[in-house]
């Protein structure tokens, strides 16, 4: 008989006693096999779409790929040499870097400001949070098509608003200087994902810290820098890394506003790395060169993330780390 102490409560099949873990063995064979079966979709996907693709991509980056005949001809490092000599790669990289340096700090500050404000208000917080989150739900193509007119230098709402306070706004989408700030503006409109992460972190800061600090005579500014910032440094760290990676891959808005058709008025200034990569891959079908570009992006992001982690570890306070 099987174990009598436990009454089967339903459609028990009563063969479980054979599957108990063996005493001497570290892993139960059946359980391990079942585990592998459960994760097998991911293993297949990883082998084909991740590992396989990466190797394939690496091979292509050292070759010339003929799409018509499907022939891969090895060309050594010529794609990478071409990469280093290509002025458009340098330009798109510089544009992207400039954009990231502009966008990431602004996004962080704006999102943090909104989160702090939302955290302060008692009633109505849910309403404002919802309103602030709506742009995040707006598809990127719609965002681009809306801002295409809002950013119009003559009649757009943004310049009309600036005129109202006595500033003559720039020709956002035409003047090469203002191409990247235009896209930053659009990004700031959809900053609520970052804001929500900050908001969650702010909610976890123990309130008594503030009470004691105010008893000690610390004002709001001092409290912000001495309590709030250190306590949410984990979320800050996360947001900076995620936003940097996203900034280096900015595509949709840049493509929709500038590269959709042939009338691009600022081809130099609006050439972002991901856009140029896309052009080389799926407009020129220059797969070898584009694959090399992808690997360069990968290396750059790895280095940047590594630096951020190294720097971040000195400043980030993890709850329960020391005790």
């Amino acid at each position: 008989m099987t174990s009598t102490t436990v009454a089967p409560s339903g459609d028990g099949t009563r063969d479980s006693s054979r599957k108990r873990p063996g005493r001497g063995r570290k892993y139960n064979r059946r359980e391990a096999l079942a585990g592998y079966l459960f994760i097998s979709p991911w293993i297949i996907g990883f082998l084909v779409f991740t590992a396989g693709s990466m190797i394939y991509s690496l091979v292509i980056s050292f070759s010339k790929y003929n799409l018509a005949t499907n022939v891969i001809r090895p060309t050594g490092t010529s794609n990478y040499e071409a990469l280093l000599e290509n002025p458009k790669v340098a330009k798109s990289l510089a544009n992207t870097l400039f954009y990231a340096v502009l966008a990431v700090p602004l996004e962080i500050c704006f999102a943090l400001l909104l989160a702090v404000l939302l955290n302060r208000v008692g009633r109505g917080a849910g309403f404002f949070r919802t309103v602030y989150y709506l742009p995040k739900m707006t598809p990127a193509v719609a965002t681009a098509s809306i801002f295409f007119l809002l950013l119009n230098g003559n009649t757009g709402a943004i310049n009309q608003g600036l005129r109202f306070i006595g500033i003559e706004g720039p020709q956002w989408l035409v003047d090469p200087t203002w191409v990247k700030p235009s896209i930053v503006l659009m990004t700031l409109w959809t900053v609520s994902g970052t804001m929500v992460i900050f908001l969650a972190a702010l909610k976890n800061v123990p309130r008594d810290l503030y009470e004691v600090a105010s008893l000690d005579g610390a004002g709001p500014v001092r409290q912000f820098f001495s309590i709030t910032l250190p306590m949410i440094s984990g979320a800050m760290f996360f947001n900076v890394i995620i936003l940097t990676i996203a900034a280096f891959q900015v595509f949709d808005q840049a493509y929709l506003l500038f590269w959709r058709d042939q009338n691009n008025v600022a081809p130099e200034a609006s050439l972002f790395y991901a856009v140029y990569l896309f052009q080389e891959a799926f407009r020129q079908f220059n797969f070898g060169f584009a694959a090399a570009m992808a690997w360069l992006l990968f290396v750059i992001l790895m280095i940047l993330t590594f630096i951020q982690v190294k720097v971040g570890n000195r400043f980030v306070y993890y709850e329960g780390e020391r005790s």
């Binding site: 991911w42 990466m54 908001l199 992001l301 306070y317």
Partner: protein
């Protein structure tokens, strides 16, 4: 020492907590601070919040307004059209295959969200419940793939789908979802780990097999995180512009997804050097791709915001 930096904060915390306990009861605190100052601060705070709310809402309200204007007024910034052109909607409907686009987008998004939610749950359960050699290394690999920029695998993926004969079909837009997605696996695994293990052990003793354990017990319990994954992926698939650009761009206009359709409409109706264009039609189409998302958000708001807040995702 003046710095209460990150390094001193944790050690200070217990001391501070004691100080709070020792502090006199609430009535005696803040005796000198007049209540009016707090009120002014509150008014300012509310004004700021309302101001930002107006900034965030303006483009959306303006989108609705612009979709109802005649071509000559699209460039106005008024939120109320001088003349209401309801027939813009009829006009766009006859000029663009909107119904096709929405149908394509809804179908692809449903397929993508369903497949990734099921496959990711399954893999996540595998990682959360079972003990097998190499589990931690494999899960480390899962997390590692989150760091990989999409550009690296973009070209090989294109060639794989091309070789398999799926160019121009929906398969490339959701096919990889059948194998789970790192972020969702991570999210679902966190959820499964939070369930008491005794629950599963009891079911095992009752004779439940591993598949039933997942399908009949773990899955129903994980509905909240399942919904988060589903909604996130639905939104991501609905938004997927680059994928459609790569895989569906060469097809006929009826085969476009909504984002690709909007891009097409932007080109077709943009004011060029010659005339003023018919940009109100783009606004109608843009509204059409935005509304389902706003509706979805109104139903699943809690899931979206909590999903972002608990796991952190830039989206």
């Amino acid at each position: 020492m003046t710095t209460i930096g990150p390094s001193t904060a944790p050690t200070a915390a217990p001391v501070l907590a004691q100080a709070v306990d020792a502090a006199p009861p609430g009535g005696q605190r803040d005796p000198g601070r007049p209540p009016t100052r707090w009120t002014i601060g509150r008014v300012l705070l509310t004004l700021l919040l309302v101001g930002f709310a107006a900034l965030f809402l303006y483009p959306l309200v303006w989108l609705v307004a612009a979709s109802l204007k005649p071509a000559s007024q699209v460039f106005d910034n008024s939120l109320i059209p001088e003349t209401w052109r309801w027939d813009n909607y009829v006009q766009v409907w006859s000029e663009l295959p909107l119904l096709h686009w929405v149908f394509n987008s809804v179908s692809i998004s449903l397929l993508a969200a369903t497949t990734v939610a099921i496959s990711s749950s399954m893999v996540a359960f595998g990682f959360a419940y079972f003990r097998f050699p190499g589990r931690n290394i494999l899960f480390g690999l899962v997390l590692g793939t989150m760091m990989l920029p999409g550009a690296v695998t973009m070209i090989p993926m294109y060639l794989i789908w091309k070789e398999a004969g799926f160019l121009g079909t929906w398969v490339p837009l959701f096919g990889a979802n059948l194998f789970g997605s790192a972020f969702y696996i991570f999210l679902q695994r966190q959820f499964y780990l939070s369930l008491p293990r005794e629950l599963f052990e009891a079911a095992r003793i009752d004779g439940t097999n591993y598949w039933q354990l997942f399908w009949k017990i773990a899955m129903p319990l994980s509905i909240p995180s399942f919904v988060i994954v589903f909604l996130f992926e639905f939104q991501a698939a609905w938004n997927n512009f680059q994928g459609a650009l790569i895989y569906l761009n060469g097809e006929s206009m009826e085969d476009f997804t909504a984002p690709l359709g909007i891009a097409y409409a932007m080109t077709k109706y943009s004011p060029t050097a010659g005339g003023e264009g018919d940009y109100q039609y783009v606004m109608v189409a843009s509204l059409l791709v935005t509304l389902p998302m706003l509706l979805l958000f109104s139903f699943g708001q809690r899931y979206f915001i909590e999903g972002v807040a608990t796991q952190g995702r830039k989206g």
